[in-house]
């Protein structure tokens, strides 16, 4: 085992943070439906939080129309004091409630897009490498190694600061540093499944390679990938806030991260311009992870329990 080619068994655990252990009681070896899944308190709570978040992202801007970056009040109004600004205002007098509603849209959009792009790219590359083997696998493994060797966040900072900081740039940058984990995981899983009986049986009965890969193997490893996706969404939201901290967020879109970025200079005297969007980040990331865990237990009963 060379350092960068990891054991498939370990690779399967590469669903940060360690997937599948939040609620061990969940071990319902039962695949017959989502109702059972939602009966578990933590899974139900996480699903509810995220559903609420997505609903907010869709409906919120309709409830509170107008540009959230407009200055609509006095600066630094405390939360729960003025019902025109239920969550208060920031240093310029921008409404924090509108900010978090629109921020849900931007932050979730960034997270979901990054997960989608890195899944598509990573699965495609990793699956082909793992199934084809030989020189293709060699090239892909070296490629992944290169991305593994460069500190991801540094690459991200370089990319975003040399291009114009915007939601698109942030998404591209984050996808660029996330795909390699997916590719590595997919490759390891595909290699693991290749030698299983169902694949060998399909091969002997003359099913074509791509068909086996996409029709047989991928559906079998999909649960693992879904769990990984939930983790990528969470990490992307965190990374976006770190970029905003360095002043590299999209200046034209209120995201939770950029709200923290613009409020953090007052952090010593005024807690709410940073704590409110920060709390939304923490709760969302937390819920995504709990959901990932619950999904993992539900979809991969053998991995735990």
């Amino acid at each position: 085992m060379t350092p960068l080619e990891i054991d498939p068994n370990i690779a399967r655990r590469y669903r940060e943070p360690g997937a599948g252990v939040f609620d061990p009681a969940l071990g319902s070896r039962n695949r017959w439906g989502g109702i059972r899944f939602l009966k578990t308190p933590s899974a139900a709570l996480a699903t509810a939080i995220l559903a609420f978040g997505i609903l907010t992202a869709i409906v919120g801007p309709i409830l509170r129309p107008g540009d959230p970056l407009r200055i609509t009040g006095e600066p630094l109004i405390q939360p729960f004091v003025d019902w025109a600004h239920p969550l208060g205002t920031d240093v310029l007098g921008r409404d924090l409630f509108s900010g978090v509603l629109f921020g849900a849209r931007v932050s979730l959009l960034v997270g979901l897009s990054v997960a989608f792009i890195s899944l598509v790219v990573g699965v495609l590359i990793g699956a082909i490498a793992g199934y084809a083997g030989g020189w293709i696998d060699w090239v892909v493994t070296r490629g992944i190694e290169i991305f593994q060797t460069i500190p991801g966040f540094v690459l991200l900072v370089v990319l975003v600061s040399v291009l114009e900081p915007s939601a698109t740039t942030v998404i591209i940058g984050l996808a660029l540093i996330s795909w390699d984990a997916v590719a590595r995981l997919t490759r390891a899983e595909v290699i693991n499944h290749r030698s299983r009986e169902y694949v060998l049986a399909a091969e002997t009965s003359g099913v074509s390679g791509p068909r086996i890969l996409f029709g047989e193997i991928l559906p079998n490893i999909a649960p693992t990938l879904i769990v990984t996706a939930s983790i990528i969404v969470a990490s992307a939201i965190l990374a976006e806030s770190a970029l905003s901290f360095l002043g590299l967020g999209d200046p034209n879109a209120a995201s939770w991260g950029s709200m923290i970025g613009s409020g953090r200079e007052q952090i010593r005297s005024y807690w709410f311009p940073t704590v409110i969007p920060g709390a939304f980040i923490v709760v969302t990331v937390f819920a995504l992870n709990v959901l990932g865990d619950a999904l993992n237990d539900f979809l991969n009963p053998r991995s735990n329990g």
Binding site: R70, V91, S161, P251, E265
Partner: protein, 535 residues
Amino acid sequence: MTRLSRRDFGKLLAGTALLGSLPSSSFAASEKPVQGGTLRVVMGLEPATQVEILQNAGGAGVGGRVVEGLVTEGLDLSIQPQLATSWSVSDDGLIYTFKLREGVTWHDGTPFTSADVAHTYSFLKDVHPRRRNTFANLVKIDDSDPHTVVLHFSRPAPALLPALNANSAPIVPKHLYEGTDPRTNPWNAKPIGTGPFVFREWVRGSHTLLERNPNYWAPEQPNLDAIIIRYIPDAVTRLAAFEANEVDIGYSTPVPIGELARFKNNPEFKLDTEGYSLGGGLNQIFFNLRFEPFKKLEVRQAVAHAIDINAYIAKVWQGYAIPSPSAIVPAMKHFHDASIKHYAYDPAEAERLLDQAGYPRGADGTRFTVRFTANPFMSQVIDGANFIRSALAEIGIRAEIALYDHPTYIKKLYTEGAFDLDIQVLANGYDPTDGIQRGYHSGNIKEGLAWSNHAHYSNPEVDRIFDEAAYEPNPEKRRALYVELQQILHRDLPAVNLVQYQPVTVSRAALRDHLIDQQNSSTSYARAWLADGGA
């Protein structure tokens, strides 16, 4: 227009200081200085090199603490002796003769002589981005007498003396620089000077340590044993360092501007607005006159009418700024035209002007979308951009902010011209020829040159006034010319001038006699002392 360097941007004229306080020396004079103690200075930016001879990029280096100039400027802007004890100018203004202080030695023990001055000035003329202009007409330096330097110019140089201080033209030893490329000389990072403190170490990314020079030429100076200059990049961490009593002084509003209030009524601390008289930081919005819609005067006027300057000062600058409706800031008293007022805050009038200019509101309420760039180096400018963005949205203009890092910003604005609106904080400089002419003279429309006339403003009348005033010897006539200029600029509106910004020095109250000149973060601390002996 001279863009403020990070270090210079604080140097505003003190005449209009908001908090106009007494010089600290006036009430400290009766106390006897305490000897000893270590002064802890905090800076946000670390310099690229410790002596400013190639570039004044980044933060202040060792400054006047280690290296000195021929002269220095007092708080009242008078020119005072430093390494030169006296000087005279020939009647035709072409020959400057400086008598040098005797018995001064470099920190390595070598005697200081006129040859050091001559050698330093001759290479500054080639490598220093600003002294290139100062010494442009310097034809000969006579150092035949070891204690006399004579500078011969081919044209009069009336603004020479303010450029010869420790910060602008630091004198370095000839025996260490002769025969080397001054830009890469290793002594730039471990300077040998004549100043009150000796360079000890520079731990990159962390701090610089200076120790008392026991052989300093001024008797009984300095009082402090050592100086630590700490580099803390984050403003909130700097605030924490002040509150945890880890630093004694910081310059140019070292803490988040909104947090200055925490220090204002705290007797442990002192806020000073003095010492920033050289420069004049003008916050303004430039229009790109090459393209529609800002080609049209009515559209520019509409923008001016959309801004509530009092709200702008309160929200963006937290009160640490005064209105500057004209291109020459109020601090530049000799030239500022106080009769010019901001365009009235009148959104309805702004909307009328836009309708008239042929930009009606569209179905979504938007008239047009423009690219809005903001100089990235001060958080207030970015807050300012957000304020303006919001104000413009009220009158139906969608301004999309583009935040670039420094090199991209310069490339986009000055080479590609890829902007419609640009918000900046710029230094006015010590004279309109220094800081203002570059931004408006059509001769300075130069692609690829930073801080040139990027608005592409071109008015032959303005060019004429600039050219005439630059060589006008009569101060009254000169003022009249610049007043006329300000009125034309106010009418033509190539830029909306917003405010003159006031930097603040935060210090522990126990620190005394540190404010003795206009060098702010580069000051020498020759007389400074800590009443409590240091924390």
